[in-house]
């Protein structure tokens, strides 16, 4: 029998994470110092609102049987939007499977993205090279290594670009993560390791993944580690921008741990109330990243009621488009079953295709 979780104690050190926005939206620094213009500040809000609505729509589509399964990002909008927004066009993102908000920032069409979850396509119907946003990675943590290799490749090309990889707190228990950190440090790969510590790996709390905070693991590999308030979009933006710049110019990796919280289930297949304590949920609901950021925009005058409702209207219109697009997406042509296994179809696959599709000579 497993020892009770309480036996482990709460040994995890949660240092004072970097933040800019207070609970009421008051900023500790002038956003202009972050290089953010007023329209950028509004864009961050717009992207978070669009992401939340798209995410809720995706969950609803799953509940209605239109998607096979979906991993909600509810509560993690600031961590994803703030980090993706801090990158430049030529930078590349490797996602895990919960970064639809980052995909939205990169201009990926949500309908195409959700075809993976609709189970009509294997990996999301979008071009990873065009959006510089990699294919959804389901084995936990493997994408950290792809990111390191990609970063090494861009460095060989002499391009001033960085590669950012998303993963969760659970992935930090995987060997891949540690091998990736070590590899990146040894080869000075221009990579940003972005951990969204949402406190839960399906039903297992962060305390069962690690005693040390995630960001401190960077020290062992020899590069900076930063803990940031993941529900503070400005702090996430600032930390990511610094890390990306360090990657591009100094070829030094950074590990960012963004403290956030999953306000939905791991995926639409589990019930989070079986493991997330009600008081913890309430506490984090009180730290809603969009509510907090809206207060900031209101207090600085960067956003007014007309802007907020325009964002809501746009998000609602987009949600309708997503719904129609997803429901309208029919099955893929049967011939595609055999496409793209190899660049050119070998003889044995041609024969198997003909057999399965009933095109044999008989």
């Amino acid at each position: 029998m497993l020892p009770a979780m309480s036996d482990d104690g709460d040994r995890t050190e949660q240092g004072p994470a970097r933040s800019i926005l207070g609970p009421g939206g008051e900023a500790s620094i002038d956003p202009a110092d972050l290089g953010l213009k007023e329209e950028d500040l509004r864009e961050l809000y717009r992207l978070m609102v669009l992401s939340r609505k798209a995410d809720l729509e995706a969950t609803a589509l799953q509940r209605q049987g239109q998607l096979a399964v979906y991993p909600p990002l509810l509560g993690q909008e600031a961590a994803q939007v703030g980090s993706a927004f801090a990158l430049q066009d030529e930078d590349f993102i490797f996602p895990s499977y919960r970064e639809m908000a980052s995909a939205i920032v990169r201009g990926v069409d949500v309908v195409g993205y959700l075809l993976f979850h609709r189970a009509t396509w294997h990996g999301g119907m979008f071009d990873p090279n065009e959006h510089r946003f990699g294919v959804v990675s389901v084995p936990v943590g493997s994408q950290t290594l792809h990111a390191v290799g990609y970063a090494m490749g861009t460095k060989l090309d002499g391009k001033p670009a960085c590669t950012l990889v998303y993963f969760g707190d659970g992935a930090t228990s995987q060997g891949d993560f540690h091998e990736a950190c070590n590899f990146a440090a040894v080869f000075r790969a221009p990579v940003v390791f972005f951990c969204q510590n949402n406190h839960w790996a399906i039903s297992v709390p962060f305390e069962r993944q690690s005693v040390a905070p995630v960001y401190r693991k960077a020290e062992a590999y020899g590069f900076p580690g930063i803990q940031v308030d993941g529900n503070d979009v400005l702090a996430v933006y600032q930390a990511t921008r610094e890390a990306a710049e360090r990657a591009r110019t100094e070829h030094t990796p950074t590990l960012i741990e963004a403290l956030t919280y999953r306000l939905g289930p791991h995926s639409t297949a589990d019930d989070r109330t079986r493991y997330q304590p009600a008081e913890q949920i309430a506490e984090w609901e009180g730290r809603d990243p969009i509510v907090r950021y809206r207060r900031f925009l209101e207090s600085t005058g960067a956003g007014d009621e007309a802007f907020f409702s325009a964002c809501d209207d746009e998000a609602n219109t987009e949600a309708t488009r997503i719904r129609e697009g997803v429901i309208g997406a029919g099955p893929r042509p049967l011939e595609e079953l055999f496409e793209w296994v190899f660049a050119d179809m070998p003889e044995h696959l041609r024969r198997q295709r003909d057999e399965v599709l009933g095109r044999g000579e008989g």
């Binding site: 294919v135 493997s142 290594l145 390191v148 290799g149 990609y150 060989l156 090309d157 070998p346």
Partner: protein
């Protein structure tokens, strides 16, 4: 023509491709100044430098995962896994990621990647350094699988693998490293998915791979002394497989034998036998017979390893007995 050893041919082949394509890089453990534990990469770091010939941390999952990421940027990459047994350490990358990337991206992401590895037994390295694992790779859709038996094939098939748009597992055989053969001058490029008839014969067909090819040839010579004419086919490439070459041979000879170093269960020969059974059954004069390593971990003891791996003697005896039985019926 120059006579090279198999291990020299590896470096020769890599150098040929690195001179042709300045973007080609290689990652591996001890591939730099050491030249590889079997010295197949000797001299490369001197010519191409430590950026293109890169020693990595001892981290197979990382070096293969990073090779995949680097290949995604469009550059061709060679990753070396020191012993093929260790592909098990990075099998997630190979089987779940690399093999499926083209498929999962709707054909939009290509991985021009070659994973080279020292495969097979006969060196007394025991259970964790001697396995023939080409059948593991063959089972995964999306991977190409190549295993050369001669220095010329090493150069040509390696060049074919590097230039192939799909990920290729390239199995170099530890037991062949010191063997010699002629390699043509100039650029050598061979086509993946082509078998070669290395000995013509009329009475029976023996399909073999890598170290089993010279052993099958020895057995064929002895059979010739008994008046039995054996055709030996070097399969060379398991995926794609040159099924046509096998079927043409079997339609001529009427008997089919495989010589496999991988353990018996689900060895590659089972697939070949099933193809022959389905498509050349009416040409067969007797059952197809597989000569394999038994379904055991490989022992380190010389006497036991010699017993386990198919030897020229065992090939000869098995084929003779099977042919005798057939003629007595």
């Amino acid at each position: 023509m120059a006579e090279l050893t198999y291990r020299e041919a590896v470096a020769h082949g890599i150098a040929q491709e690195m001179r042709r394509d300045p973007s080609l890089v290689m990652l591996g453990e001890d591939v730099g100044p050491a030249g590889g534990v079997f010295t197949p990469t000797e001299g490369l770091i001197e010519e191409f430098g430590p950026v293109r010939i890169r020693d990595t941390p001892i981290s197979e999952q990382a070096l293969v995962g990073a090779a995949m990421g680097a290949a995604m940027t469009g550059i061709p990459v060679i990753a070396e896994i020191m012993f093929s047994d260790f592909v098990a350490v990075c099998w997630d990358m190979i089987a779940n990621e690399i093999a499926k990337t083209r498929y999962m991206t709707n054909g939009q992401v290509s991985l021009p990647l070659v994973i080279r590895t020292a495969n097979g037994g006969s060196a007394r390295f025991g259970a964790q350094h001697s396995q023939s694992v080409e059948n593991w790779a063959m089972m995964v859709p999306g991977l190409k699988v190549v295993a050369p038996s001669t220095p010329a094939d090493v150069v040509g098939l390696l060049a074919g693998a590097v230039r192939d748009p799909d990920p290729v597992l390239f199995f170099e055989h530890k037991g062949l490293m010191g063997s010699k053969g002629e390699v043509p001058d100039g650029e050598v490029v061979d086509e993946l998915g082509t078998a070669r008839v290395v000995r013509e014969g009329t009475d029976l067909t023996i399909a073999a791979l890598a170290l089993m090819v010279p052993r099958a040839l020895l057995a064929a010579e002895r059979l010739e002394g008994d008046g039995i004419s054996a055709e030996v086919i070097d399969v060379r490439s398991l995926v794609p497989l040159d099924a046509r070459a096998l079927l043409d041979s079997v339609s001529k000879t009427g008997r089919f034998f495989t010589v496999e170093e991988n353990p018996r269960l689900c060895g590659w020969g089972a697939e070949l036998v099933s193809i022959v059974d389905e498509e050349a059954f009416w040409s067969l004069d007797g059952p197809s017979v597989r000569i394999t390593t038994p379904h055991i971990p490989l022992p380190a003891a010389a006497s036991l390893e010699d017993l386990a791996l198919p030897s020229a003697d065992r090939i000869y005896e098995t084929v003779s007995k099977s042919v005798d039985l057939g003629s007595r019926r």
